[in-house]
Amino acid sequence: MRHLDRQVDPEHSHPLEPYLRMDRIPHIWCSTCGLGTVVNAFLTAVKASGIPREKIAVVSGIGCTGRAAGYVNFDSFHTTHGRAIPFATGLKLANPDLTVIVISGDGDLVAIGGNHLIHAARRNMDINILCVNNFNYAMTGGQFGPTTPKTARTTTTPYGSFEHPFNVPFLVDSCGATYVARWTALHVRHVTTAIQEALTRRGFSFIEVISPCPTVYARRNRLGSGLDLLQFYRDNSIIKNGVDTRECDIRFQEELIVGKFVDVEKPTYLDTMSEYLRESVGERYMPYVGPMQPPQPDNGD
């Protein structure tokens, strides 16, 4: 067995390397996990959006997806389980010039973080949520969660899950989210476009990306590797842009509806707040003064 040390065309490096913390690559995600692909799409979208990289802030929670914050070369925050969204809210309100993205998993955002998800959607808080849904709590070994389809086997549903899962696009849509989309890790171009749209628009945006989990979810349910699951997405996903989110339930290994479901304009939380206060407080109103400014390097010592 001979190891291949010679690299093909080493004079170039991957174009996204400036956007990665190269001192932390390779990442911990398994072979055929979709997370690397989602992060790749995310960074491609950030690059294409033209947003200055110092204005990007990434907040994540706990879980496999939550590790994404540690690999991207932006101001990034790996917070507590379920609390990425309120942390992101505080960050955005303190410095509205930031473009804040929450990258977290289905358990983190919809289970323990569910309350924060619905309120941020209701408020139309100007943050962008990238929810990677692999149907279980992968980091801790593959327990079920509120997005696990009925009959799926996980470590805490060894006989199959009997709970009805959330239809997450419907959930956030019903709370007033102004941008709701669902794609899979296979639909990389759509994911990239969706993230780019989300970053450049104003208001709350929610993108669910169905992603394979080879090591726990797929293995326990005999679904093959992540590559097999991508093939499943290819054969069974149907793009229905603009469809009513009510119809987007996910059943175990059945047809998967993907697409951009909601894309509307509504005033953001900050817009509403300042407009309303300006009117009701009157001429005494003073808008938020902004974050504290560090001294300029040439003025300091």
């Binding site: 932006f74 101001d75 507590t80 969204i85 309120p86 809210t89 309120h119 407080v281 003073m286 010592d301």
Partner: protein
């Protein structure tokens, strides 16, 4: 006061305010411009005053969906560059503990105000207690040190919350501001000084080159300088045990470096952080050690005892954590007895007994909450202690 003065962040002059109100005004005077909270008696009035004043002084008030979100939002705002605080009481304080731990681990400057009430659980929502003192010290999981301040008058609510912000910036951690319902709802004269007479510390900003920046490389006092998001530092912070770069390193060696520094930056600086008010302790036979509302009651008992000729001194803990071990030990060597009234079943007393118990007699005056001590009970303990 004239309506247009409400746009002034500093309401210089003499006022007749309750503790909650004074705390809100003190925070505004200290430059706090972000509050994320959830209403809970008896702290609600602080949030209400901030909600009223912030649109006039350029702050942002957001009422989050619960206390967990409130604390997370406060941490996020601090990293966005704001001076941030939240207000709560016992049940909310319990909910905030996980994120207080995140604040300690990521060294985020902010202030958490707990207007204590009777507990446990829902307890006595409208009546006083001092029952969260140990929780302020140990409420979150893991090893850490904390700073907790206890005002004992509305004037102190104003002055001390400014110091709380200064301490949080100086030592980079969430500072617990432990009021109680009595102090919060007590109305007294509060004098707000002129501008320039209030000392507000600047955030300890990093001033070096961007390429050399490491989020957790400490200065000589064990505290690293701070940055904010949006300035192209592209830092990473995490609640996982981390190294100087802020990256998670999951092993015992890194844990030792990381956690020891979090503990020692407070522990080693206890004498600088501690704020104590002493009176008559130089030659006292009995020293009454108290904090918060109990110290107001103790003042009466001490006066009665002195009228009887007993040499009694008062040590008021303005900072309860870190506990001022050195000063307690010094006083315990000279006194016959130390008496501690607390509106709980003995919390800070555990520290007092641990430090002073081998050197002098220590007496606890517990109280389950809902009201304050009877000065006669404290007097009786002083008399017994002087024997």
């Amino acid at each position: 006061m004239a309506a247009n003065e409400l746009t002034n962040p500093l309401l210089t002059g003499a006022h007749y305010w309750d503790g909650d109100f004074a705390c809100a005004e003190g925070a505004i005077a200290a430059g706090c411009r972000f509050l994320a909270g959830y209403p809970i008696t008896p702290s609600t009035e602080i949030a209400e005053r901030m909600a009223e004043r912030f649109p006039l002084v350029g702050g942002t008030y957001i009422q989050m969906e619960d206390e967990l979100a409130s604390m997370a939002a406060v941490l996020g705002a601090a990293w966005g560059g704001a001076r941030a605080m939240t207000v709560t009481s016992g049940p909310g304080f319990s909910l905030m503990q996980e994120n207080i731990g995140l604040g300690v681990m990521t060294e985020t400057p902010c202030v958490v105000v707990n207007v204590q009430r009777g507990g446990p659980s829902t307890g006595l929502p409208t009546l006083t207690g001092q029952q969260d003192m140990m929780q302020a010290r140990w409420g979150s999981h893991g090893d850490y040190e904390i700073i907790a301040l206890c005002p004992s008058s509305p004037q102190e609510c104003f002055d001390l919350v400014i110091r709380a912000f200064n301490l949080s910036e100086r030592y980079r951690l969430p500072v617990m501001f432990m009021m109680d319902e009595c102090i919060g709802h007590m109305t007294e004269k509060v004098v707000v000084p002129r501008p320039g007479k209030i000392h507000v510390s600047q955030r300890r900003w990093y001033r070096g080159k961007k390429e050399h920046y490491k989020p957790y490389l400490p200065g000589k006092d064990g505290v690293p300088p701070m940055v904010r998001a949006g300035d192209d530092f592209r830092f990473h912070i995490t609640g996982l045990t981390h190294d100087e770069r802020g990256y998670p390193v999951i092993n015992a060696a890194c844990q030792k470096t990381c956690v020891s520094r979090l503990v020692n930056k407070i522990k080693d600086n206890t004498d600088q952080i501690a704020i104590l008010e002493e009176e008559g302790t130089e030659d006292a036979d009995v020293v009454v050690v108290s904090y918060g509302i109990s110290s107001r009651v103790a003042t009466r008992a001490i006066a009665l005892a002195r009228a009887r000729g007993i040499k009694v001194g008062s040590l008021r803990l303005v900072t309860v954590w870190p506990f001022p071990e050195n000063r307690i030990r010094e006083l315990a060597r000279k006194a016959k007895c130390m008496v501690m009234p607390e509106i709980n079943m003995g919390q800070v007393y555990l520290e007092l007994e641990r430090i002073a118990g081998t050197l002098c007699k220590t007496t606890l005056l517990p109280h389950c909450g809902g009201w304050v001590h009877d000065p006669q009970d404290i007097l009786e303990a002083i008399v017994q202690g002087a024997k």
